[in-house]
């Protein structure tokens, strides 16, 4: 019996290249594997998050790692001619995948044999039920559509009742609904009655109706995961991406896996490096105006709208984008977009998150930059009829100008996340007033060590009870007209209660190099009071946070407005006080040095690491050991590597527990190097690696694509061990 190849069967990526989805993959495995619970799971997904790849990766693992449960993956398409065609494809795919799994031969799937051939290929134990399915499909023309559809959808359940376990991964089930709502209802009924564990994956705005199934969500990748995914894809496709370019792509495309992989693939096809903001935006513009990102958006836009309505829809989409503060009414949209069949274009655009409908208003999701750019480009080209070269040039210039602004906005958002997270942690804790009131903090505690501050503050009798917050969001969500002024993410509104009374805390982070002035404080109080008034908050509390606190005059203003003013230091201490973080988070500090080879440059590295280690309280002995190991690593990099750039790349990172060092060089890898016969003392050489291993706690030597990388770790200990004699 052929063994399944331990690589991709349905998936498009190697398992190691599936980034940021480890938890979801494990949950799906647990749900559908041999030990899984016999019930359904709704997988609700944002567009472009890589759902199909995740399901296919799960399928591949089940195919290879176990023999009890037949994995079955099927994606519903709106392109199927009718319900019967979809059902026929469904049952064929099931037979195909079942035969391939039972024979443990994934090549059968890629060969796509006919039904008769599949019947012959079926394992002897499966012959009967597979023959029955094949026969049922063959008699499709003689069968009325409804029973045929029902029989087809029931195929996995029937095989399961024969004692053969099956796990079904049904992708894009919203398409089943939009193909024919009765198909989706039939699907639900059939699986509700069967014992087969199933996953129904659909757009997160899709209404499943009543269904007995667990729920799981798949969001766009986080910024960090998006960065890792970009690096992984670029590495696989041999595209150079700088850190700055990577971050811009991750931010601009908001973690959309489809968009990001499309851009990197385009760079690979064009053989260009993504090494600057300009390079990113050039690629991006090509993708918006060519058939990269735009093709993906076309599918969601054109696929949702009858062709006769396309022009009018682009027109109103553009208006909606331009009127971003107020949006366009649903009625205005309905006048443009006719009802088409049982569902409207408005519903489909909402499903695919091209638009967002709330309170009778339609708006474009502001975070989807690519969608805005795509609609703008199509409007100018197709509605306004502008010259393509002109639109392209102006758009590219605009994208390039916008890039630094996008990153600035992102940095601000990231900084503000900690305020939201802290306010979510408010849960009626009683905390010292000095944690919030900068005046008290400045007079009594400023300048003391953290532990002393916490102790003295704890002994203080002046306390405040925090509210129990139940909903924390950006204040701009309450006052869209003032969104820009509120700097979007830097102002947070937290709804909570104290006792039975509801209260809203409005918190803002203010930039100020010195103690914040009275004028700036008054301005922010005015802004937040406006938000409170416009939003109808009857009881609210203002909380301003500034890096260096507030001047006495500013504090007087805050007192008048019943607000609090805190320094960033107080903010961090408050986090520690209410258990949101440790007092001293294990913050990692990183340093990078690039040195030329030769000229005793390793001494520069040794001096640098000495200073770094000393700041982290490593003992003198440990420091000398690290220095010597580092010198050896540098010598290793320099000697015989034939490095083309003659550089040694060094990274040092320190946290509360350890010092990590990475030394990399281009050129010959360690494994490729030949012994140097002309070296008279070579017999006693080669001690470098031995020394590194003896002097450091961990040493890893890797041959990378174009050189060698040595990673070393030294742990921080109260008492450093003595090096043993050889």
């Amino acid at each position: 019996m052929p063994r399944p190849r331990r690589h991709r069967i349905l998936s498009g990526l190697d398992a190691k290249d599936l980034i940021g989805r480890a938890n979801e993959l494990e949950r799906l495995m647990a749900h559908a594997g041999p030990m899984g619970r016999r019930r359904g799971l709704r997988l609700l997904v944002a567009p472009g998050v890589g759902t199909s790849e995740l399901l296919k990766q799960t399928y591949d693992r089940l195919f290879v790692e176990q023999k009890e449960v037949i994995p079955f993956y099927f994606a519903f398409r709106t392109g199927d001619e009718n319900v019967a065609a979809a059902a026929e494809r469904f049952v064929y795919e099931f037979i195909l995948q079942a035969v391939a799994f039972r024979r443990q031969d994934d090549a059968i799937i890629s060969a796509s044999p006919g039904l008769e051939e599949l019947s012959q290929l079926a394992a002897p134990a499966d012959g009967k039920w597979i023959d029955r399915l094949v026969e049922a499909v063959s008699r499709r023309a003689e069968t009325s559509p409804r029973p045929f559809v029902r029989d087809s959808l029931a195929a996995p359940g029937r095989s399961s009742s024969q004692g053969t376990g099956v796990a079904c991964f049904l992708d894009d089930v919203h398409n089943a609904h939009y193909l024919d709502p009765r198909l989706f209802e039939e699907l639900k009924e059939v699986f509700a009655r069967s014992e087969v564990p199933f996953v129904f994956a659909a757009r997160r705005r899709f209404d499943f109706g009543p269904i007995d199934a667990d729920r799981m969500e798949l969001e766009p990748l986080s910024f960090d995961d998006a960065g890792r995914m970009i690096e992984s894809t670029a590495d696989r496709l041999d595209v150079k991406v700088t850190d700055e370019a990577r971050d811009l792509i991750a931010v601009q495309l908001a973690g959309n896996v489809s968009f990001m992989s499309t851009m990197i693939r385009e760079a690979a096809e064009k053989r260009i490096a993504i090494d600057s903001f300009q390079a990113v935006e050039q690629l991006y513009a090509d993708s918006i105006f060519g058939d990269g990102i735009s093709r993906w958006l076309d599918l969601n836009l054109v696929g949702s709208i009858p062709m006769r309505e396309l022009e009018a829809t682009i027109d109103i989409l553009y208006d909606t984008a331009v009127l971003k503060d107020t949006g366009v009414t649903v009625d205005a949209w309905r006048r443009v977009s006719e009802t088409s069949g049982s569902h409207s274009a408005l519903d489909l655009l909402n499903l695919h998150e091209v638009i967002r409908i709330s309170s009778n208003r339609v708006e474009l999701p502001p975070e989807n930059v690519a969608l805005h750019d795509y609609i703008s480009a199509r409007y100018r080209l197709e509605i306004d009829g502008e010259i393509r070269a002109l639109v392209y040039g102006e758009s590219l210039a605009g994208y390039t100008r916008r890039a630094p602004e996008l990153m600035t906005g992102f940095y601000r958002k990231r900084a503000a996340v900690s305020v939201r997270e802290l306010m979510i942690s408010f849960n009626r804790q009683t905390v010292p007033l000095a944690m919030l009131d900068y005046g008290r903090f400045r007079d009594d505690l400023k300048g003391l060590p953290d532990q002393d501050i916490l102790r003295i503050a704890a002994e203080s009798e002046e306390k405040i009870v925090l509210p129990k917050n139940f909903f924390v969001t950006n204040a701009s969500a309450y006052d869209r007209a003032a969104a820009v002024e509120l700097e979007n993410e830097r102002v947070v509104a937290a709804k909570g209660n104290i006792g039975t009374e509801e209260i809203v805390w409005l918190a803002a982070e203010i930039d100020s190099k010195l103690e914040t002035s009275a004028e700036l404080t008054a301005l922010w109080c005015d802004r937040l009071e406006t938000v409170a008034r416009e939003s109808g908050f009857s009881d609210f509390r203002i909380w301003l946070i500034a890096p260096e606190g507030f001047s006495p005059e500013a504090l007087a203003i805050l007192a008048d407005r019943r607000g609090y003013g805190s320094s960033r230091k107080q903010f961090e201490l408050l986090k520690a006080e209410i258990g949101a973080v440790k007092v001293r988070p294990s913050a990692e500090h990183q340093y990078e040095i690039v040195l030329p080879m030769g000229e005793d440059a390793e001494l520069i590295a040794a001096n640098a690491v000495e200073e770094i280690a000393r700041r982290s309280n490593f003992s003198s002995k440990a420091i000398n050991q690290v220095k010597t190991a580092l010198v050896e690593a540098c010598i290793n990099a320099s000697e015989h590597s034939l490095s083309p750039d003659q550089k040694i790349y060094q990274k040092f990172s320190v946290d509360d527990e350890k010092l990590s060092i990475t030394i990399s060089n281009r050129g010959l890898r360690l494994a490729d190097r030949q012994p140097v016969e002309s070296e008279p003392t070579e017999g006693r050489r080669g001690w470098g690696l031995q020394l590194m291993r003896r002097l450091m706690d961990e040493v890893t030597i890797e041959d990378v694509d174009d050189g060698t990388r040595i990673s070393m770790i030294k742990y921080l200990r109260p008492t450093e061990p003595t090096v043993k004699a050889a």
Binding site: D600, L603, A606, K621, T628, I635, T681, T722, V723, A726
Partner: protein
């Protein structure tokens, strides 16, 4: 006492030598050797690398050929050593043994002794601090 200053190292010396020191157009000289009877004292640089090791080796060989039977390598200024420098010192020890001479390492810092220990150097040489 005959004193002779060697040209050692590419870097500027952190401390001046005892005895005569001269400066070439490119490098400051930072190691020296002295002899007394059949004993030669060679001063190692603050960084014992390949170049510094080779200079020590050359000077030791020269002193051995002149009849010295006791070589003292003084490490008072040596802050850091690398494996290449150490491997060259082993060559010095071999040469001395072949000439019936004894090698003594003096004023070696504790961390350096441990390193010599790790590489087996202390089995062949006397440490005198």
């Amino acid at each position: 006492v005959v004193q002779r200053t060697l040209k050692l190292g590419h870097r500027a010396s952190r401390s001046k030598q005892k005895g005569t020191t001269y400066v070439t157009s490119e490098r400051e000289l930072d190691a020296s050797v002295s002899t007394e009877g059949d004993t030669a004292i060679v001063y190692a640089d603050d960084y014992l690398n390949k170049l510094a090791g080779e200079k020590i080796e050359r000077e030791c060989r020269r002193r051995l050929s002149e009849g010295c039977r006791r070589l003292i390598v003084n490490f008072s200024r040596t802050e850091i050593v690398n494996s290449i420098g150490v491997s060259i010192l082993l060559g010095v020890i071999d040469s001395a043994a072949n000439n019936g001479a004894k090698v003594v390492f003096s004023q070696v810092k504790e961390d350096t002794i441990e390193l010599f220990d790790m590489l087996g150097l202390t089995r062949h040489v006397t440490i005198q601090n």
